[in-house]
Amino acid sequence: MKLTGAEAVVKALEMLGVTDIFGIPGGATLPLTDALSKSKKIKYYLMRHEQCAAHAADGYARATGRVGVCTATSGPGATNLVTGIANAYMDSIPVVAITGQVATTVIGTDAFQEADITGITLPIVKHSYLITDAREIPEVFAEAFYIASTGRPGPVVIDLPRDVQNQIINFKFPEHVNLPGYKPTLKGHVRQIKMAIEELMASERPVLFIGGGVINSGAHEEVKKLAESLKLPVAWTLMGKGAFPDEHELNMGMIGMHGTKTTNTAIMNSDLIFAVGVRFDDRATGNLKKFAPNARIVHIDIDPAEIGKNVKADVPIVGDARSVLAEINRIITEKESTKNNHFKWLEQIFEWKKKWPLKLPDTDDLTAQHVINTISKLAQNRDVLVTTGVGQHQMWTAQFFKLEKPRTFITSGGLGTMGFGFPAAIGAQVGCPEKLVIDIDGDGSFQMVLQDLGTVARYNLPVKVVIINNRYLGMVRQWQELFYGRRYYAVDLEKGSPDFVKLADAYGIKADVVENLSQLEEKVATMLEHKGPFILDARVKEEENVFPMVPAGASLDEIIGGD
């Protein structure tokens, strides 16, 4: 089959099962854009900023478990993707970014709209390609999707010079991918698995500690089985939210800086941290030197480089979380093992949970916590998916929005990218058209990406945006209050913020304001019933702080608040 390079790209994408692409075209992607226009299988979502295209592909991937695809032209188009690519890299999300490039004949001459995007993205990609001969296209695309979605997932950049898109080739798609330097270990080591089970059985104060790896590998059922069969209390990282039902009696809540007092206290008193798909990030562990001082550590992760990077593992297991946990569950079931040497510990944890619940502020003012709690309650029986920006509202959503399924909480964990929530919601809604997608956003975060209201309006995506509007860069303000003598500086957003209802109206999007507690339920219900996109401007109390809080660099038992 004779095809142009651009047609070969589209053919390869179709064969890889791609149905949606987020992007903005430009000079260096004109041939590709033209070829995409002829595809009956792929829909192109025209965004209003390339950063949102990358975040949308990221949100799409997290919501569906499939590879998210974004595209941008050379130079500024490509560099605008960079934050989105870094975000996907930090959270291990499978994204393929296709960038246009100037013609091979002028690469390196500082041509118009030339940027060395494979060079620029080198430290933030799992892998990247600069295609200089269109005959490489079928193989490169097959490899890129395989690399992005297997092992520890991550973003892959494919840079496509303009002349390569016009080159005529004989298209032949490879039957399998052969990468001599890339063979992820999926199955855990048999002896290590046995040792891990022995540790579990011997421990008197175990904690099952789960993260994003559980969601990536689809190990949530195995986690539940293990937790329930041995009665293990469960702690999760921000990236692990949704992997274990929030309302489950064994769920202790989030770990770390804004984690629950129960989880952080349990970690510090535990004698065994059974960690699955986590990377012991500093926001989760607090001061590493003082982390879980009495615990032995079992660490299951697909990336060997994560094991031993931050904490020393007593029993390391390299492998896919689902495969390893399935094997552990099989052995436990086969031996009919039960665990009854930790009932005192469980009792203690249930007591802590009762003593230190996350509480709504005792006030008649409208607070962020009230808003999030109310949405959570009213959306309870709906097929809901939540995205967030970054900051206070993100932490409150992690604390107060009750979820029970994986891939329903989409947030920027590692990079902490303000503005991620709205475009991620766009991607998630495209990937899951039947779901109720709610972006719980901050007024600061949302204003970084609000041009993509155009995208929501154009495709009539029924995304609900709730702006937790406290007229501040709230998290920075909180730190200035607590650690800089309340010297607020460069955090006040009151002046210069738009009237969000008028703004929505300008885009033809429905919107409303909620200002007091008595209207809250009704206004949230109206939003949730609305068929199309909706913006709810929740004008909440200004100087509310996120608690509990472990200050940066402190240990998890130096927790402020929460009791």
Binding site: P180, G181, A305, K309
Partner: protein, 159 residues
């Protein structure tokens, strides 16, 4: 402490940049680096000497392994490998001291590879220590130019 890593990589554009970038980003210090294709033109061998102060070698190897183009990594302990370095040293030489310099070269089993009115070029191979030693001896005659390959190594025996 210095470690010698022998890294087999795919011979593709950008591989050196990926490895150099990884070392920079993770704060690993490259002491020397030698790269050339192997008997198979699709593969290249890199001999990297890393200077590790507080980072464990294990992290360096694991991070290297994550690069898709890296196929195999060997970590050589000093007695397990044959290690060599080659240096070309151009040194000032007059009629009076030329034979002295040639004598020094002879002691090190080095070769004179170029000679002119007022200079000599010497080729010497050996361990890093040996090359350091001849450089020290030649210094008083005034070294005009010097180029060293950095260490290369192969495992002893069958390995």
């Amino acid at each position: 402490m210095k470690h010698t890593l022998s890294v087999l990589v795919e011979n593709k554009p950008g591989v050196l940049a990926r490895i150099a970038g990884l070392f920079r980003r993770r704060g690993f210090n490259i002491h020397s680096l030698a790269v050339a294709p192997t008997e198979n033109p699709n593969l290249s061998k890199m001999i990297i000497v890393v200077d590790l102060e507080d980072k464990p070698l294990e992290q360096v190897e694991k991070q290297l392994h994550k690069l898709i183009n890296v196929i195999k990594i060997q970590d050589f302990l000093p007695h397990e490998a044959v290690e060599r370095e080659l240096a070309l040293i151009k040194v000032k030489a007059t009629k009076e001291n030329r034979s002295e310099i040639i004598q020094i070269a002879d002691i090190f089993r080095a070769k004179i590879v170029d000679v002119s009115q007022d200079s000599l070029a010497i080729e010497v191979t050996g361990t890093e220590d040996k090359i350091d030693a001849i450089v020290a001896l030649l210094k008083p005659y005034q070294i005009i130019d010097i180029a060293r390959t950095g260490k290369i190594a192969v495992a002893r025996g069958k390995k």
